[in-house]
C-alpha cells in the first residue's frame, strides 16, 4: 500500500490510476487518467463508444501496457506485478464466455482454481453458483445450454469464488433483461458491502446511478467529470452526461 495515495473516502484505494495514458499509434485512447477507488466503492465509468472505458479496464488487467502513468491494484503496479495484481482482481466482461463442453460447476471450478482458490468442493461450488443467482439444477448442466444471463451469473460466481479485493466490470448488464440486470446490481451491491472495490464501465446511466457510488464521465479518452451518485438524480445525471459527450472535442 505504500505506493498508493488515499482515495476520497480516506481509505487506501484498491484500484488507482495515476496519469494513466494509452496511445495506439497516433491515437490517444486514454489521456492522463487519475482515479482512486476505495474498498466498498462502486465507480461507474460512463461514456460513448471509444471514450476509453475498456482501455482503462485493459490497463488494470495488464492486457496492454500504458504509454505513460501507472495502474495500481491494491498498491501494486500492474506493469511490474502482473500476476500479484491479477490475483487481487476479478473481471466480468460484457459477455461472459465459458467452455461449452463443461458444466457451470466445472467452469467455475476451473476459473476458481486458476484464480488461486485451489480445488473447491462441489458443494461449495454449487453454493457459490446459487449465491450468484444460478438455479441449482442448472449448475451441473453443460454451459452450451445456458442463456446469456445464466453465463453472466457464472461470471459473477467466478468473481465471488476468487474473493478478490477489486472487481472490474465491462458493460456487464449489456443485453440482459431488466430482471437479470436488477439481480446483477443486487450482487454487485453485496460485493460492495463486503468491501470490494468495483470499477464498472457501462453505457447504462440508470444502472450507474442505481449501483454506483461515484460516476466518472469519459469522452475521447479523458475523464471529463466525476460525480457522487448520492448527489445527483437520474435526470441530472442524464443531462450532465449529454452535456459532456455532445461537445465538439475530438480525438487527439
Amino acid at each position: 500500500m505504500t505506493e498508493s495515495q488515499e482515495s476520497h473516502t480516506g481509505a487506501a484505494p484498491l484500484l488507482e490510476a495515476r496519469g494513466l495514458t494509452k496511445d495506439y499509434g497516433g491515437t490517444r485512447a486514454l489521456d492522463s487518467l487519475d482515479l482512486a477507488i476505495a474498498p466498498g466503492e462502486v465507480y461507474c465509468l460512463l461514456g460513448p463508444n471509444g471514450a476509453g472505458k475498456t482501455t482503462t479496464i485493459n490497463l488494470f488487467l495488464g492486457f496492454v501496457a500504458p504509454s505513460a502513468g501507472q495502474a495500481l491494484v491494491a498498491g501494486l503496479n500492474v506493469s511490474t506485478h502482473d500476476r500479484e495484481s491479477k490475483r487481487r482482481l476479478a473481471y466480468i466482461p460484457e459477455q461472459v464466455m465459458l467452455y461449452r463442453n463443461l458444466s457451470g460447476i466445472e467452469n467455475l471450478e476451473y476459473f476458481a482454481a486458476l484464480g488461486g482458490q485451489g480445488s473447491l468442493g462441489r458443494e461449495r461450488l454449487v453454493e457459490i453458483l446459487v449465491e450468484a443467482g444460478l438455479d441449482g439444477d442448472a449448475a451441473g448442466r453443460r454451459v452450451s445450454t445456458y442463456s446469456k444471463g445464466m453465463r453472466q451469473k457464472v461470471g459473477i460466481a467466478i468473481a465471488i469464488a476468487k474473493e478478490a479485493d477489486a472487481l472490474l466490470l465491462d458493460e456487464p448488464t449489456s443485453g440482459l433483461d431488466p430482471t437479470a440486470s436488477s439481480e446483477f446490481s443486487a450482487l454487485v451491491e453485496r460485493l460492495r458491502n463486503r468491501g470490494v472495490a468495483v470499477l464498472m464501465a457501462t453505457h447504462d446511466l440508470f444502472r450507474a446511478k442505481d449501483t454506483g457510488t461515484r460516476v466518472g464521465i469519459m469522452h475521447y479518452g479523458r475523464l471529463v467529470t466525476e460525480l457522487s451518485t448520492a448527489e445527483v438524480g437520474h435526470a441530472d445525471l442524464e443531462r450532465i452526461y449529454l452535456e459532456h459527450v455532445s461537445d465538439n472535442g475530438g480525438p487527439r
Binding site: N58, L61, K86, Y91, M97, L102, E106, Y110, A113
Partner: protein
Amino acid sequence: MIHHIVRKEFADMIRDGRFRWSAILVGSLLLVSLAHGWVQARKASQELTAAQATAREHWETQGEKNPHSAAHYGVYAFKPRLALSFVDEGVDPFTGTSVWLEAHRQNDFLLRPAQDATAAQRIGALTAAQVLQHLVPLLIILLTFGAFASERERGTLRQLLATGVGWRELALGKALGASGALALLLVPAAVAGAAALVVASPAPTASPLARGAVLAGAYLAYFVVFLALSLAVSARARSSRTALVFLLAVWVVNGLVAPRVAVDLSKRVYATPSAFEFARTVEREMADGVEDIAPPDRDESTKRLLAEYGVERVEDLPINAVGVYLQESEEFSNRIFDRNYGALWDAFRRQGILQEALAAAAPSIAVRTLSMGLAGTDVEQHRHFAEAAETYRRDLMRQMNGDMTENSLTGDFSYAAGAELWESVPPLEYEAPPLGWVLGNRILSLAVLGAWLAGAVLLASAQVRRAEVA
C-alpha cells in the same frame, strides 16, 4: 495450477464430438494398419520360412551334376523380415526381398509388390508408419490449432488471463491436455504394437524391443514437434481460421511436398542410371573389361597352370584347368560387380544423406528415415542383406568351382558331384545389423529431428511469450 489446465483441456477435448470422431477414425486406421501389417508380416515370414526350406531342399536334392552346373542351378536367398517391419515396410515393396544367386551374375531382387501394384493399391495399402507420419500430425493440428486462437476469438482467453494464470502455464497445460487426449489413441496402439512385437519377434539379435522403444521415442518427438508448432501458430495467429490454414499448409509441405522434392533433388544431385542403362553397362564391361579390369585370358591361364605344375599338356595337369578358369571368370565378374554396384550403392548412400539433411525443411523426412531404419526396411539394411547374399554367392561359386577343379581333370566332362557336396554348403545364415549399427547410420536424422524438437519448443515458448490477449 497446471494440472487444473491439463484436466480441463483433456475433459473439454474428449467431450468434443469432432475429437471423438477424428480420434476414432485415426485410431481405427492405426490399429487396422498395425493389424494388417502384422498379419502380412507374419504371413510373409511363414512364406519365407517355407520358401527357404523348399529352396534348400531343391538345392540338396538337385541330383548328381557337375558343380558348375549346380552353380548355374543356383539358390535363392531370402531377406528375413524384422519384427518391426509390420509397422513400416519401407523400401521392401520396391527393392524386393529375395534374390536368385547363380554363377557369373549378380541378379536383381525379386518379390517387389510395388512393381505389380496399381496406383490405387499403393494408396490403399495404408501402413501404420503412414498413419503415424501423416494422420496423427493432422489430428494434432485439428486438436490444437485453436488452442489460443479460438479462445481469443471466443473471449475466454481474456477471462483466463485475468485470473492471473501465466501464458507459459497455459501453454504447457494445453500441450499436456492435448497429449493426454492423444494418449487415449496412441497408448492402445503402442501396447498393441509392443504385444505384436513380443509375439512376432523372430530375431533376438536385431533387438526388436530396443528398436521398438527408439521408434516410439522418435515418433513421440515428431508429435511434440507438431504440438509445439501448432501452439506457436495458434498463439500468434489473428484468427483460428488463419492458424488452421497455415498449419494445414505446413502439414501438406511436410508430408507431401518436401519428401517428394527431397527425393527428386537427391536424384538430380547424385544421379543414378536407369535399370536398363545399369544392366547394359555391366553387360558391356563383362564382355570387354574396363580400365584395369581385364577379362581372364584362357590361354594365359592354361600356360600359367602348365608352368606351375611343370607339365606340357593340359591333360597332364592334376587339376581341371576349366575350373580354375571359371573361378577366374567369377573373380573378374566380381570386380566388375563391385565397381558398378559399389558406385550405385554409394550414389544411393549420398542420395540418402542429402535427403536426411533436407529433413531440416520437413521433420517427416527425418522420422520416415528413422522409422524405416528401425523397422529394418531402409536402403542401408537392404544393402546389408544384398552384400551378405553376394558374399554367400561368391563363397558358393568358389566352392563349386573349387570342387570341380580339385576333383576332375581338364576335359573330363563326365564328373558329377552329389548330395554330399550340396549338403556341405551351409545355408545363408543372415544376421540383421544391431541397433547401434542402425543408429550409427541415422545420426543425421536423429540430430535433425532433435533440432526440430528443440526448435519447435523454443518457437512455441517465444510465440506464447509474445502472444496478445485480443
